[in-house]
């Protein structure tokens, strides 16, 4: 059976509740996530069901929150932390990068760190330079971390269950603009394996590799181009670290043309790695330059017009696709 109209945020909340029911080691912590149910309402209801030992409001202290969650994970719990905006992960980088990411390796495989850090990225709310960044490339660069980024309710549910089950620290990135998006959720909803991409739309003329909220834009763009007879494949990465190189390569081997599309700043972003790999292992498949469509190299501006012009969109994607198809 499939339930329709399940919002992205609700799917995440459901995954949390299901995981907490399944395993008493799962605990949830973050700023205003217990009594208030979270800034984006995702954790609503958890406190009532699971009580204050397992659902904890924290003080505003991102470093200690993630550090403590790491220590708790080493101690056998499966903490799921909410960091209110991805921009605030700047305050928790030591815990994530020097402690959580390395503990399994550095201690010679003594104890896993089954930690999940949920955090929203992305703009569109005119929230300005310090509340809109997409910093996932940082984490994808760090051995020991995994990074996932769902694109709809079903993938949010499935990836979060997988992230909580995973014995490694996982950064779970939620695009803010998706929270209210309704989608279908199978019942029971399955866990999705980390590291596997999904063909959101099969096509033969060119491949768009994308993730998160950009998947919907890519699909729209593909639909539009389909009216001209251009058949665009859209690959939804879902996982960024590890990412599904085999799937991307297989798609490139079919279409020979590839564009990576994401909301993060293009330069040194996730797309750089994907393109760089394809320029090596996929070199023989290439019939056109590898293109990236992302944000320009500037902070996310506040005003409506500026942010709208800043955000990578269907127009830019279409232009890039036309270039590689030219």
């Amino acid at each position: 059976m499939t339930v329709a109209g399940v919002r992205f945020g609700k799917a995440i909340g459901t995954a949390l509740a299901d995981a907490m029911r399944a395993d008493p080691a799962v605990v949830v912590l973050g700023e205003d996530i217990a009594e208030a149910g979270g800034s984006f309402g995702v954790t609503r209801g958890l406190l009532a069901e699971f009580g204050p030992l397992r659902v904890r409001d924290t003080p505003i202290a991102e470093a200690a929150i993630v550090g403590a969650a790491t220590g708790a994970a080493l101690g056998g719990l499966r903490p799921v932390v909410e960091i209110m905006f991805m921009d605030f992960l700047t305050l928790a980088m030591d815990a994530l990068v020097n402690q959580a990411a390395k503990a399994w390796f550095m201690f010679g495989g003594q104890a896993p760190v089954p930690l999940v850090v949920r955090t929203p990225h992305g703009g569109g709310l005119n929230a300005g330079p310090q509340h809109s960044q997409c910093l996932e490339a940082w984490f994808a660069h760090i051995p020991g971390l995994k990074v996932v980024c769902p694109s709809d309710s079903a993938s949010a549910y499935g990836l979060l269950r997988a992230a909580i089950d995973d014995p490694n620290p996982v950064i779970f990135v939620e695009n803010k603009s998706l929270y209210a998006a309704a989608g279908e959720l199978p019942e029971p909803a399955p866990s999705l394996p980390i590291g596997q991409a999904r063909t959101a739309r099969p096509g033969s003329d060119a491949t768009v590799v994308t993730y998160g909220a950009c998947v919907a834009t890519a699909l729209e763009t593909a639909d539009r181009l389909a009216q001209e007879g251009l058949d665009i494949e859209v690959l939804d990465l879902l996982s960024l670290q590890p990412w599904d190189e085999a799937a991307v390569l297989a798609s490139l081997a079919r279409t020979h043309r590839l564009v990576v599309f994401h909301e993060a700043v293009t330069a040194f972003g996730v797309g750089a790695e994907i393109v760089a790999r394809m320029a090596d292992v996929g070199f023989d498949e290439l019939d056109a330059p590898l293109k990236r469509v992302g944000a320009p190299f500037m902070p996310v501006p506040f005003s409506r017009e500026l942010e709208a012009a800043f955000q990578p969109n269907d127009v830019a994607l279409e232009a890039a696709l036309r270039e590689v198809l030219a």
Binding site: A36, A61, N126, Q130, M298, P299, R304
Partner: protein
Amino acid sequence: MAGSDHIGARVKEARTAAGLSQQALAERVGVSQAAINKLESTPGASSRKLVEIAKVLGVAADWLATGGSGDRPKTSAPDRTAPALPQDQQLELYQRMVLVREAELAAAEVFAAGEIPGFIHLSVGQEGFAAGITSPLRPDDTIAATHRGHGIALCKGVALERFFLELLGRAEGLCAGRGGSMHVADLAVGMLGANGIVGGGLSLAAGSAMAHQVRGSDAVAVACFGDGAQGEGLLHETLNLAALWQLPLLFACENNGWGEFSPVERQFAARIGEVASAFGIESVCVCGEDVAAVAAMTGELVAAIRAGEGPKLIECHTHRARGHFEGDPQRYRSEDDQQAWLEKDPIAYSEQQLATAGVVQAQFDDTRADAKARVAAAVEQARRGTLPTFASARAGVYAPAGA
């Protein structure tokens, strides 16, 4: 008087001697009046705030705790009380508060109408903090505000028009429409910016103080932070840095009782004054309802800092009148708590004080009308402001050589 045979009785004795009501004591200590009442009336009761109470009452904590050998002794350093301010200064403070109030109420309307993008955090009910803290500051003094920084911006001298132009995301705005409410700044008047990062202004202000110190200027820097920001480690690091380097830095805690949707009690286990004391940093706690007291106390601290005494801290108790951000339905907050600020409105209190001193209602009405008119004009001007071009923003990421 050795007959005061339990802690509460001694608290009562000392409180009465100090001429304070239970409510007044409660406020200065940062507990509820009910808590003081319970303490005073229950034999065997004690309080984690005993040291704080002793400080406010100007008695030894030892004596409060045990009664000791007899008479209620005086501490060597009784709690400082603010000197009275001359009336013209009080009027000016009043006018500033009214301007901030009117500006924010207008902003709320313009926001509700969809003309202000993003989200805005208003300081309605807390104007005593902004007006009081900034009042002794010179143009070359600097201040870093929090995300709730409109009041500080306006009181530090930011132009009202460019303030609204920024909120509306216009090219002529303080930040050319790139920052918005959470980043209003005007370095030319020493306003180092509101900040989207809780606690973020603390170390920026410390750095500004360091710049004053290196240049040999007697300018002072002020670091504003909310009660919620007390949880951030940067506060500790900055207190330590300021103490070690004896920076000309005033820490100013705007304690409105809430960090987003959680009351301060659930967010911070210490009293910031005690933390500061541990670093050898003198601290005072004032009631933000009384802008004259905030201004006078800040004046003393700033003068001491200017004179080379090193960092100080002021905590100011206020009430947040509205939601955390505009549009916050405040389901987490009781109706009583939402209304409580009306009893503590610094503008109403200031009017009372001024009225007692002979200022007539018409003057209040004029002030308000003036402010409304200025604000309305500024909003109109902001609406006519030009939209920023993407090209100019794109070109504005790096400062050019020689900047």
